[in-house]
């Protein structure tokens, strides 16, 4: 018996020795890891302001509610009751919460973020019910706020909780629960907007309750991003666009700074600001047939339509197929063998030179010019003007569009390029696809006579004391070697289009400011034609380029021209410091058709 007891105790001593001497370091490390925890102190995201310092996005202190899973009761029924209480108190999706709890078995003491953006009243109500909510943790958390609601929503973008994949990709600066840009400037300026999280080094007990504070590093807020947008012009452009689907873009001609980019939209970035948008609302936004999250200015592709005639004309002038005097006759209809192609004006325009053809947007003139040029020259000049390639604006998700070629058509359709395709391409239809922003770039090139400034929305970055960290200097993104005589001829055409009473863009005419522009009516097999109007002003020394694109807008010379005119007028009012005109253009119901 004595031997048995002695042997038992001796073996136990060996085990103690093994644990405490041989493996001591391992267990020491495990014990320290157990009890010391780093709590991040979320740094507020930087502000986004417009060119005049108007705050478009900021951060406001608010609270988030989290749940420490291990503090839920062990008893099954009590646990379910507590989970149900959470669902009720915070209006959570029960399946979502159950999923998160199931995931958390590995880390039962790290809190699950349930809801953010809670007001003090909400927090007070939760505190009252704390007895039914075991494991509730309330922490301060900066909330992203967009004071103007959906103003410039597609430019500003929105934020969301950083995903696991993003965490792995971006490494050290982020912790779970951090907000990260998901769209718009919030994405492109992410590295400036994101502040440096501070932290608390805290000794905790087994339930994650704080026992002692070991150290504190204050968070550093993110940098301020100054945009090129003018909040007032943006608001006016959005007001003018109203409920119509489409885009209105105003850009500084000499710098490429975007002054306004209005997208008809029904989404408000504040919905996403608390980090976790409610499931129902997210479904509603994603499944909305009007695709409210799409930035139509840079992500939607349309045929450019008659505005493309500028490209056709400059190609022909440079290749010697056209000159100032050369004329073609428009009889209202154009035949290639048995195929007929009509002019928008079926009565015909008679004999025209290139300037008159631009003014009246004659289709037959450009059909004939296109045939003389062939598709290869058209495609080459389209490339030069930046079609088929993103403009390089500092917003995520920009599309490049498409410029068709012979080889492309043969590869895709196994069909040769027909002369009819060339005819269509010469007036900006056929397989051409472009974003509204590429039309802005086209007009900018004409306005600056061969230079394009890279469009951008971020003007500069400032730190918290207002010192400039980074200045965005205007960049010439492309240069075209085209004769000065060609530019002046094109410019005369664009001027006439707006300023002759017979021009298709006459509705964009402004008495006190010289506007030059071009209309576009894009044939749309799915419904009413799309309408676009692109212009710059003042004509002699261009400072602003405005493009309006309206889906199903019927005719480029009507509402699109009127909206562009109002935007230019508002810009002029702002520039001169007078009160902005606020009357709304109405769709013209009568009057001569203003063609395409």
């Amino acid at each position: 018996m004595a031997y048995a007891i002695g042997l038992g105790l001796f073996l136990l001593l060996l085990r103690f020795g093994f644990l405490q001497i041989v493996e001591a370091d391992r267990y020491r490390a495990a014990a320290d890891e157990n009890s010391i925890r780093l709590y991040p102190l979320a740094a507020p995201r930087g502000e986004i302001v417009d060119r005049n310092g108007d705050v478009l996005a900021t951060s406001r202190p608010s609270f988030r509610a989290s749940l420490v899973p291990r503090q839920l009761p062990e008893d099954e029924t009590e646990r379910e009751a507590a989970v149900a209480a959470y669902v009720r108190a915070l209006d959570l999706d029960p399946d979502w919460l159950a999923g998160r709890l199931a995931e958390s078995w590995e880390t039962p003491i790290s809190p699950i973020r349930l809801a953010g953006g809670l007001s003090t009243e909400m927090v007070a109500r939760l505190e009252e019910r704390r007895r039914q909510l075991p494991g509730l943790v309330i922490e301060e958390e900066p909330l992203r706020v967009y004071p103007y609601g959906n103003l410039a929503a597609h430019v500003l973008g929105y934020t969301g909780e950083v995903s696991l994949a993003e965490l792995q990709e971006m490494g050290g600066r982020y912790v779970p629960g951090d907000l990260v840009g998901k769209f718009g400037v919030e994405v492109t300026a992410e590295r400036f907007l994101k502040g440096d999280n501070g932290g608390l080094e805290v000794e905790v007990d087994a339930l994650g309750r704080q026992v002692a504070l070991r150290g504190r590093r204050p968070p550093r807020p993110g940098k301020k991003v100054v945009l090129t947008l003018d909040r007032r012009l943006q608001a006016r452009a959005e007001e003018l666009l109203g409920d119509r689907k489409g885009a209105v873009i105003a850009m500084e001609a000499q710098t490429g700074g975007i002054l306004a980019m209005a997208i008809n939209s029904r989404f408000d970035p504040n919905w996403f600001a608390s980090g976790r948008i409610s499931n129902a609302r997210w479904q509603a936004v994603v499944n909305d047939p009007s695709t409210p999250l799409q930035n139509r200015a840079i992500q939607a592709l349309y045929a450019p339509g008659s505005i493309f005639k500028i490209v056709t004309a400059s190609a022909a002038l440079e290749q010697g197929e056209l000159n100032e005097e050369k004329t073609y006759e428009c009889g209202g209809i154009f035949w290639i063998k048995t195929w007929s192609y009509k002019c928008w004006n079926e009565a015909g325009h008679g004999w025209l030179n290139v300037e008159q053809a631009i003014v009246h947007s004659c289709d037959i003139f450009f059909y004939k010019t296109g045939i003389s040029l062939t598709v290869d020259a058209l495609a080459k000049y389209a490339d030069l003007y930046g079609f088929g390639e993103p403009t390089g604006i500092d917003l995520p998700g920009e599309k490049g569009g498409h410029v068709p070629t012979r080889a492309w058509k043969e590869r895709l359709f196994h069909l040769p390029w027909f002369p009819g395709n060339t005819v269509q391409m010469a007036i900006g239809q056929s397989y051409l696809l472009a974003t509204p922003l590429q039309l802005v770039q086209l007009l900018d090139i004409v306005a600056l006579e061969g230079r394009a400034c890279r469009p951008h929305v971020i003007r500069r970055i400032e730190d918290e004391r207002g010192r400039v960290v980074q200045e965005v200097t205007p960049q010439v993104s492309r240069r075209l070697a085209i004769a000065p005589s060609t530019w002046s001829l094109l410019k005369r055409g664009l001027w006439g289009c707006v300023n002759y009473s017979s021009g298709t863009g006459f509705r964009a005419h402004l008495p006190r400011l010289d506007v030059s522009g071009k209309t576009s009516t894009i044939q749309n097999p799915q419904g009413e034609n799309h309408a676009a109007f692109a212009c710059y002003a003042p004509s002699d020394k261009p400072e602003i380029v405005v493009v309006t694109f309206i889906e199903h807008g019927v005719q480029g010379g009507t509402i699109a021209a009127l909206i562009s005119r109002s935007v230019v007028s508002a810009w002029d009012d702002l520039r001169r410091g007078v009160e902005m005109e606020t009357d709304m253009p109405t769709e013209p119901v009568s009057g001569p058709p203003r063609g395409d």
Binding site: L12, L13, R15, L19, Q20, A24, A30, N34, A206
Partner: protein, 375 residues
């Protein structure tokens, strides 16, 4: 009067008494450390658990003296009564007991919990000793060796409380009762081979028993075989205890300085897992000292058994030592993760009134057996 006190004092086994007092003092310090709130710096104010443990220790000393003074022959005669009371309490606790951690083991009396399982041990031990020692010897030597006359009655005496305790359910105490009975029988002449054979037979039917075990019991066995199977559920305590003991290293982190203990990572660290506090705060040196004191205590107990005045006294002393020693081995083993977690306190060290009073009473009886040798 003074003479009688002196004679009583001289008759006591002072080595055993010293070990007991040492363990009690060490246990009180560890309970103090375990019970202190995480944010309290010094030992003041004394936590409630430590204050209560001091009261239990005082009551334990009284029980010890009482056990040492009452002739164990009287106790042996009272044995069946104690046993019967124990059985009644066990039956009652199944009906009205206080449930904690899914088991009904406690009576709640004015906020103080009592475990009748502890008191059953003494009654059963006394009855077993009486049965083995009291009956006339069988004339047939072979039958005497292989199937003594007292065996059927003894088996019944063990089976009833074991069944009741398994019903609570309390695997640890049931196992302890079986071990106690085996030790007594072994010393009373039942051959090794028979006991080994029964154990082999028992392992033969183990798969059948498995199907009768409750889910939590199966989970405990599985968790013992691999505690990392469910690191935050059943295996959590063992992992945390082993981590605490291992992190203590050679000399420990110092009194009141063990983070695993102080930050309450180990559930029940003041009762069943008190050794994790010892290991974390005093290291291997601390564990070595305590194990040495236990060894000394039990060896001295066996010496008393060896020199006992008569056969029942010897059996009684062996029973007491085996009961306390197996409890110690099981508890230490579960703290270092080599024995399944069964919910047995460490005699004299763990917090708990029933356990403390019982251990003291048993050691008191042991002292009484030791005193009678000199008469």
């Amino acid at each position: 009067m003074w003479y009688r006190v002196r004679r009583f004092a001289e008759s006591l086994n002072w080595l055993l008494l010293a070990c007991l007092l040492l363990l009690m003092a060490a246990g009180w310090g560890l309970v103090l450390s375990a019970a202190m709130p995480p944010n309290q710096e010094g030992p003041w104010p004394i936590p409630a658990f430590a204050a209560r443990q001091a009261v239990w220790a005082m009551l334990g000393l009284i029980a010890l003296m009482a056990g040492a003074m009452v002739d164990y022959h009287v106790l042996l005669r009272l044995g069946p009564w104690l046993y019967a009371i124990g059985l009644i309490l066990l039956t009652l606790v199944l009906g009205v007991g206080h449930t904690s951690f899914g088991a009904r083991r406690w009576f709640a009396l004015r906020g103080i919990f009592m475990q009748p399982g502890e008191f059953t041990k003494l009654g059963m031990l006394l009855v077993l000793v009486r049965l083995a020692a009291g009956q006339a010897r069988d004339p047939d030597p072979l039958r005497r060796r292989l199937f003594p006359r007292w065996l059927p009655a003894s088996l019944l005496v063990v089976a009833i409380p074991v069944a009741l305790i398994l019903g609570q359910p309390n695997l640890g105490t049931a196992l302890l009762l079986v071990l106690l009975a085996l030790a007594v029988w072994l010393v009373a002449g039942l051959p090794w081979s028979l006991i080994a054979g029964s154990i082999a037979a028992a392992s033969g039917v183990a798969p059948a028993v498995w199907s009768f075990l409750k889910d939590y019991q199966r989970a405990r066995i599985l968790n013992f075989l691999n505690p990392y199977r469910d690191p935050l559920g059943g295996g959590y305590t063992v992992i945390q205890a082993v981590t605490a003991i291992g992190s203590g290293g050679l000399t420990g982190r110092g009194f009141l300085e063990g983070p695993q203990n102080r930050l309450q990572f180990i559930p029940k660290h003041h009762t069943d897992f008190i050794v994790s506090v010892l290991g974390e705060e005093f290291g291997w040196v601390g564990c070595l000292s305590i194990v040495f004191v236990y060894l000394l205590l039990y060896l001295e107990g066996l010496r008393i058994a060896h020199r006992a005045r008569d056969y029942p006294g010897m059996l009684l002393a062996v029973g007491i030592v085996s009961l306390l020693a197996s409890q110690t081995l099981i508890n230490l083993g579960m703290n270092v993760g080599v024995v399944p977690v069964t919910g047995l306190p460490l005699p004299l060290l763990s917090y708990g009134g029933s356990s403390m009073l019982m251990a003291c009473l048993l050691l008191g009886i042991l002292l009484n057996v030791g005193r009678q040798r000199r008469r």
